[in-house]
Amino acid sequence: MYKIVEKVDLSENVVKMILEAPAIARKRKAGQFIVLLTDEKGERIPLTIVDSDAEKGTITIIFQVVGKTTAAMAAMNVGDFFSDVQGPLGNPTEIKNIGTAVCIGGGVGVGVVYPLAAALKQAGNRVISIIGARTKDMLILEDEMQRVSDRLIVATDDGSYGVHGFVSTVLQNLIDAGEKIDEVFAIGPVPMMKVIANMTRPYGIKTVVSLNPIMVDATGMCGACRVAVGGKTRFACVDGPEFDGHQVDFDLLTSRLRMYCEQEGIANEKHRCGWNGN
């Protein structure tokens, strides 16, 4: 049993939780994730470990309410327990001193890019971060990203805060301005990652994306999370979740993410489909 020790609503539909999981907290590295179950009848869902505190024995997760399980999680409170938390899973991010890294996070993906930005900064890189949301109220982790970035640029789709436009607009502006960029880390909705990868390809800027396919066991035994990278089938849970964005078949990922739309609708009538594509 894994206790909730802190819960914060970051925006209307996005929740941050700190969980007691000492063994995971000790071992976890940036880029890794957990699988959790709410209870006996629950499903296994993957979530990135946003932060950890080895001394306190805690890990931090951030999730958006998109379907039955995340809605049930949002209804849980401090002192409640998850029946199972498995991790750390996946390969840690390769953190090296590469020069200037641009860390891009969209929506709840900011929670995934935050630990990467922090680790890249600690490794001595110059970190430029671009974070975005549909509107000002949906923006998360601005202060945290500010702390781990040399420069932070915020964008909102509706222009209610920061730059009016998408995170990709901001990246294009940086490239056009002649900013020296050694590597891009882009994490967020699939359409966003696809746009960013297509944008950096002609410039030959290495672009790492973190993929979010459907997972079940997340230890390499089922292939639910299979993705095509460079024409080869890879399992995101053990070969990833990070891959070279220029090699990923994003259209395949998009169609596989829709596989259970109908059932997700049955599971929770409030949410037509757990994965809404943006």
Binding site: E43, V216, M221, T233, Q263, I266
Partner: protein, 474 residues
């Protein structure tokens, strides 16, 4: 076997036929996930047990990889002493209710039964199942005394049949045993792979609970190689490590279209249905595709389990696609027979070449090729050879790929000094499973590749002896 003949003559056995096992009728069972064979009544068990001629040199024991004292437990059943029979079984086998159901007895204990030479062998598996079920149903689970703690600890990685067997054996010898399981439930293939209609999960839970009552600690959600490495386990004070992580990585055929939606590995399909209880969706949260036309590729037990699961999920047409003939199928005859009774279609001597999909990326069928059997190869097996011009399209909205599994590399890749063979399985020096890394043993499918529950249990039994000898010297 002169002695057997003498015994036979002396006791003047009446001719009792092998007792049949009642089963759910096919038309009913294909609509539910309840167990198919219903088990012996007390009267049938006693009759069947009386068929055993109590050989002085029984071949059946040697045919059992965990060396169950077969004539002894069967004699207890014949005398109506059922609970004592269960205890006798458990002296050698920590999972009798499982083994009585899923062992291929026809290739093991029953193959060596002397009665099988002229007629039908004693139904050892059915009797084992009866005794174990009787004990559990009466709630008279007996917890035997274990040796006093010897202060030494052993880590077991994986809670499948091999890991559970060694845990049961070592705890009885006084070791502190911790089993590390990656998933949230213990049992390995017994919980995620074998369906409810062949092995009810409540039975696996009861046998795992029995081991925990003996004192075995099970740490769930613990992926060794990620949460802790084998080095970490030694640093924590474990004197020996047994690796029983199975061969859980699915094999795909690498043919075009394999990543279309609606195409599953058998591991995923069965894990969703069995471990996550997706067949009870939406009462349980995990969804599964309930295809109308389901094709299962392969001819082993996993393929039979998948195709029979598809029927129970509501498939109108469930088809096995296998590239050889029924004769070469690796599945147990009983499983093939059950599938046939339930209405499974068999496309034999057929292999898929490519999957076809619609605009949404969902599978609609596959292009197949007919095969014929060629000359026997070096191993004596006749390999399938494509027949030119025989291509055709088989419609399917769901496909399950059950063409085998292979080694999962997480543990070998994170354990320095642990050698593997070319196919990624852990290399061992002899039958007891000693690896190239001192203090580390391995057994079950991670050594042999996909095999049977009982062989994995036999490996656990042998490694228990070796680890006991190793730690007794230390």
């Amino acid at each position: 076997m002169e002695t057997d003949v003498t015994t036979d003559r002396k006791e003047k056995k009446e001719k009792i036929p092998r007792q049949p096992m009642p089963e759910q009728p096919p038309v009913e069972r294909v609509r539910n996930f309840a167990e198919v064979p219903l088990g012996y009544t007390e009267a049938a068990a006693i009759l069947e047990a009386r068929r055993c001629i109590q050989c002085k040199k029984p071949g059946c024991i040697a045919g059992c990889p965990v060396e169950v004292q077969i004539p002894a437990f069967i004699r207890l059943i014949a005398e109506g002493r059922f609970v004592e029979a269960a205890r006798k079984l458990k002296e050698d086998n920590s999972l009798p209710a499982v083994c009585g159901r899923v062992c291929p007895q026809e290739d093991q204990c029953e193959k060596s039964c002397i009665l099988g030479k002229k007629g039908e062998p004693v139904a050892i598996g059915r009797l084992e199942r009866f005794a174990a079920d009787d004990e559990r149903q009466k709630g008279e689970i007996f917890i035997p005394a274990t040796a006093a703690s010897n202060g030494k600890r052993v880590a077991v990685v994986g809670s499948g049949p091999s890991g559970l067997t060694i845990a049961g054996d070592l705890i009885k010898l006084g070791y502190g045993v911790t089993v590390f399981e990656a998933l949230h439930k213990a049992g390995g293939v017994l919980v995620y792979g074998i369906p409810e209609f062949r092995l009810p999960k409540a039975i696996v839970e009861a046998e795992v609970a029995y081991l925990e009552k003996l004192g075995v600690r099970i740490e769930r959600n613990a992926v060794i190689g990620r949460l802790k490495t084998v080095d970490d386990l030694f640093a924590e004070g474990y004197g020996a490590v047994y690796l029983a992580v199975g061969a859980g990585a699915p094999v795909f055929m690498n043919i075009p279209g394999e990543n279309l939606s609606g195409i599953y590995s058998a591991n995923e399909y069965l894990t969703r249905s069995n471990l996550m209880k997706a067949y009870r969706f939406p009462e349980y949260d995990t969804p599964i595709v309930r295809g109308k036309k389901v094709a299962v590729i392969g001819g082993g037990n996993v393929a039979m389990d998948s195709v029979r699961t598809a029927l129970r999920l509501g498939a109108e047409e469930a088809t096995i696609v296998y590239r050889r003939t029924e004769l070469e199928m690796p599945a147990r005859k009983e499983e093939v027979h059950h599938a046939q009774e339930e209405g499974v279609r068999f496309e034999l001597l057929t292999a898929p070449l490519e999957y076809l999909g619609d605009e949404q990326g969902w599978v609609t069928g596959m292009r197949c090729q007919r095969m014929e059997l060629g000359e026997p190869d070096a191993s004596g097996r006749r390999s399938p050879v494509p027949i030119p011009g025989s291509e055709f399209v088989l419609a399917a909205d769901t496909v399950v790929v059950a063409v085998g599994t292979t080694a999962n590399p997480i543990v070998p890749a994170t354990t320095p000094g642990l050698e593997t063979n070319r196919r990624g399985y852990i290399a061992v020096k002899g039958e007891d499973g000693e690896t190239t890394r001192p203090g580390v043993w391995a057994g079950g499918d991670i050594v042999t590749g996909s095999a049977t529950v009982i062989l994995a249990m036999g490996a656990g039994k042998q490694a228990a002896r070796a680890i006991h000898a190793f730690l007794s010297k230390a």
